[in-house]
Amino acid sequence: MGKEKIHISIVVIGHVDSGKSTTTGHLIYKLGGIDKRVIERFEKEAAEMNKRSFKYAWVLDKLKAERERGITIDIALWKFETTKYSCTVIDAPGHRDFIKNMITGTSQADCAVLIIDSTTGGFEAGISKDGQTREHALLAFTLGVKQMICCCNKMDATTPKYSKARYEEIVKEVSSYLKKVGYNPDKVPFVPISGFEGDNMIERSTNLDWYKGPTLLEALDQINEPKRPSDKPLRLPLQDVYKIGGIGTVPVGRVETGVIKPGMVVTFGPTGLTTEVKSVEMHHESLLEALPGDNVGFNVKNVAVKDLKRGYVASNSKDDPAKEAANFTAQVIIMNHPGQISNGYAPVLDCHTSHIAVKFAEIQTKIDRRSGKEIEAAPKFLKNGDAGFVKMIPTKPMVVETFAQYPPLGRFAVRDMRQTVAVGVIKAVEKKDPTG
């Protein structure tokens, strides 16, 4: 047992009025995500203003105001600790650009926490009408966030208060909802909580003594330890390439799978350029080995800066080296496209760090929204809300992988008209054999 806790990432989704920010704030506040001095300062101010009774809500408001001013950097990286884990929380924003970030960014979560407003009318007006919550839940599922915890929030405000009957009603309805998204509700803990009052968040609440399941904190501790893909072959998509005087060429990027270490012979896809890694550095410190999640720079021999660029992928030349994709087949969900998508459509794909136009060469099938079966072979077009299999051909050399093998290189956002119009998961890749 090391001193360092295992790191996991959680995405919190829910309707704007579900109390998700209050709940998230509560966890961070109680579990050590906020600088102690900041809390002390706020608490002192609150006491001076005789705000003792509203202390918690008041502190949250203050923190929110502070975040709006953007004056502390650490606050952007929301963190708290459970018994077992060190957690980073993403409070899913309503911003349209967040979806692309969910796919290409560091935001990939290990677990989704869905917050539901359990109050009379609140539930019906909340999740049921909120397309965004559904979209986020669907995206989380599609992008491989396998685990979910559901919080039935605002139990202090149900009629009657802390109503078991209401809880059971919500569990039944949300279960059905989650099933439609793709999750197995039998494996989702439904925790009745009050993010505002603190019931069942950290400590078991006597108000909810009929509930025998885990508290939110316990449910978070029960999350399966994520498998870190360090045993897979190396994939390191390049973000930047530097030329450093006296050292040479230094590509920089995040290790997505596998490890990179000095002495390793790496191959850069899609070009196939192969060279030896002289050294690896992170935060100006030399590393003997970099693991998935590490943002590193590495020094390579006899390679000019112009031979490498953002979007290229470093891989181990002896272990499934990255190659150019001649074409690939993906399951695509159309999300925000105002028109019809037909064969020949060539929008820009954001996949890992690459940003390249890709042609929808052949829409192979359209999938029925109810049965999951093919409803139409070779449809003329796909429109908003449709899902289908599409054979795609990059317009420039590019590295992609199947989602099953290398998840971060196997999911993409389709960008057009300045927004994400579709998302996709790659099922098969036909690779080109290196010509050189």
């Binding site: 953007g70 924003p93 560091t106 396998k146 494996k187 994520p226 920089v252 100006h284 999938i367």
Partner: protein, 191 residues
């Protein structure tokens, strides 16, 4: 930051509710007595189920149970319409504050090399002004081999500022690209 990769070895078939999820926004989830045969969702999966309490990606296949008599995607009934209207009216009447619709974004701004003037780089970033964009705190972070990157906070109003546009059309083009090689989003949160 961790990448938090999840290794999914199974082949997921998309949940087929997609269309509905995205289009029948107002209809989904009205359970009040709409009836029609629904076939439920089939998600094919080749995963060997792992025993766990929260690993829920292997969705149930064909075993539809109690929800098979609920058509989530059917037409809105009169009752539902009425209920929806009532809710809308209630929501309007509510004096509750609207959501701020703001996000907090932490951005990595990367220079061309170890000799890039990071002061000028930061000036170039902060000189970009648009409605709904507020630059916040920043710091220089070591990358390796003497290279530093600028990490900077910004607060944006969701409806006014696109982060992608900011990066693609302002930060990575002239004149800012004299100093900036690329930008990456480190954190993106609701405020």
């Amino acid at each position: 930051m961790h990448s938090n990769l999840i290794s999914i070895q199974n082949s997921l078939t998309f949940p087929v509710v997609t269309q509905v999820m995205l289009i029948y926004v107002n209809k989904l989830f009205m359970f009040s007595g709409v009836t029609a045969p629904g076939q439920g969702v089939k998600v094919l999966s080749s995963v060997v189920p792992e025993t766990s309490t929260t690993d829920v990606a292997e969705a149930p296949a064909a075993d539809d149970d109690d929800d098979s008599d609920v058509d989530l995607f059917g037409e809105e009934t009169e009752e539902e319409k009425k209920a929806a209207e009532e809710r809308a009216a209630k929501a309007k009447a509510s004096t509750k504050k609207k959501e701020s619709g703001k996000s907090s974004v932490l951005l990595d701004v990367k220079p061309w090399d170890d000799e890039t003037d990071m002061v000028k780089l930061e000036e170039a970033v902060r000189s970009i002004k648009m409605e709904g964009l507020l630059w916040g705190a920043s710091k220089l972070m070591p990358v390796g081999y003497g290279i530093k990157k600028l990490q900077i906070m910004m607060t944006i109003i969701d409806d006014l500022v696109s982060v992608d546009t900011l990066i693609e059309d302002h930060l990575c083009v002239e004149p800012a690209n004299e100093y900036i090689q690329s930008c990456d989003i480190v954190a993106f949160n609701k405020i």
